[in-house]
Subunit: 320 residues, 2 copies
């Protein structure tokens, strides 16, 4: 399958590398690591085994890639204003657009630009980061869940899920995109924001009982809001939250993407992870008091970070 990877940060490089390793024809839009990857290849370091791709098809301009069967989108959501123009040169009548971005509202941007029937949403539960140029570090997890934006469970999603699974990316085809998106938000909303705000990794938050209480309270707000969105099946808050906390405890000293963005003085994904979910929850009368407070704190600390003289990096198309 001919695959284009737009937004090749840690997530994009990792999944793209696995797909290429499985024999697919993967084309990466590269920015920061272009020269290094073209010259020296792409190295994946992972507890499941390191590997090296010495021959990577990397590009500086999307126009050089041409039409593909599948576009994987790993752009940071704060770069969504560039998404349509970055994706457009890759889209033919049958092209599937799969966004693996965080938060809510990303599929809608693609649907508006290219039509809802092109769009599949994917939720990645992946711990990874970028190392030195040309290196991506896979730390833990890595499973993906896919669902159609416009329809329920289709043959197309099942096939795509099989393709991922056969490329060593554990993948599940799901019927309800809203449900899988909100389930991911129940992790992202507490951990991304609280780690970014406090400068502490996940294990450090979990070592403070008051913070665990707050994390659970935030998760309950998110699950309650999720369950008010007309999901196909309600999320069982207690069991689900306990599972999220258990999984997080197993991740060790993890720095969520928003914390990394903040540490590297990039913008943070405020709208997709907080703004849009708050708006959708408010529409159905769920105020999410603590989530709103976290949103306000992140918003003002974003201003603070900027004004402390931090430069927003030119590489705005970096990726979770």
């Amino acid at each position: 399958m001919r695959i284009g990877m737009i937004g090749a940060g840690a997530l994009g490089l990792y999944y793209g590398a696995l797909l290429q390793k499985a024999g697919h024809d993967v084309h990466f839009l590269l920015r920061r690591d272009y020269q290094s990857i073209i010259s020296n290849g792409l190295q994946v370091k992972s507890p499941r085994g390191n590997f090296m791709l010495s021959d990577v098809q990397g590009y500086r301009r999307v126009e050089e890639i041409g039409v593909v069967d599948l576009v994987l989108i790993g752009l940071k959501a704060y770069s969504n204003d560039q998404m349509a123009s970055l994706v457009a040169p890759l889209v033919g009548p049958q092209t599937v657009l799969l966004t693996l971005q965080n938060g809510l509202g990303n599929e809608e941007v693609l649907a508006r630009a290219f039509g809802a029937h092109h769009v599949i949403g994917g939720v990645a539960f992946l711990c990874c980061n970028r190392g030195e140029p040309g290196v991506v570090n896979h730390l833990d997890q890595g499973a993906v869940r896919l669902a159609e934006f416009a329809d329920g469970l289709t043959e197309r999603v099942i096939k795509l899920s099989d393709l991922f699974t056969s490329a060593s990316i554990p993948c599940e085809a799901c019927a309800d995109l809203q449900k899988i998106r909100w389930e991911k938000l129940a992790w992202n909303i507490p951990f991304n924001g609280l780690c970014a705000l406090t400068g502490l990794s996940t294990d450090r938050l979990l070592s403070c009982p008051e913070m665990v209480t707050l994390i659970k309270q935030v998760m309950f707000e998110v699950v309650a809001a999720a369950n008010s969105q007309g999901l196909s099946e309600a999320i069982d808050a207690d069991a689900f939250i306990q599972r999220l906390l258990d999984v997080t405890a197993g991740m060790g000293p993890y720095k969520p993407s928003m914390m990394v963005d903040r540490l590297e003085n990039r913008p943070i994904e405020l709208e997709a992870i907080y703004g849009v979910p708050l708006e959708r929850a408010k529409t159905v009368g769920m105020p999410m008091v603590r989530v709103a407070m976290l949103h306000a704190l992140l918003m003002v600390s974003e201003v603070s970070t900027r004004e402390q003289g931090c430069q927003v990096m030119a590489d705005k198309a970096a990726v979770e």
Copy 2:
């Protein structure tokens, strides 16, 4: 009147200097600035007029001060475990103990050690900080409100209030200590914590509409909790909160004491300003959701600050 000043930080030095200037016999327990003040005097810089006290009675040990008529206490509340032993050598049968500390629970420490009838609580609305050694900067405000810990409005409080006023410290004698403490908390709880957490001064928070919304919501929680404490008269939330915001807007780029503590890697007054008020509100079924969240965030960021290798300064007896 013979006055002892325990905890001569910015607040203690400022009020002590005004009382000495008005002719009172003021004795300062000094730490950080001892040598400078003994050698060169104490300088007050204020928009109401600078002045200099060249002859200050400063001490390194409380035992050298002896019994006084009035002890002013400006210790940071996180040093309350030292309060009884610092105050004891100054206390005779008629000695009045006036704590000008922030938050709740300070009078109780004094009452347990010396008897409730000795104790008066004072609430200072004062913007000041320390400059170079021997210099205190008065920035804005400065009024004090006094009330008995054990009784209502007494002759003693009225006389003390008159003494302050005649020393150019605008002062009001009040009947209800809980009310004036909680009214101050309605400012301290949002601004101290949010400024400490975000590293932004008050004007910067007020320039962000989402933050103003949050500040108001926090203030409403505090006023609701206050009004559940059996005050002599309920606080009119809308009018009172608007007045607090107007006063704060007039203060310009102010760094609250907790923000300064954080910037200078000292502990912060978590218990007095958050822990005890939360406990008292909880007792009457007022959860103060946002205040509790702020408390948890400050608690974990306190841990973070410490573990980032910051040294807690030896001068633990600094003052708001």
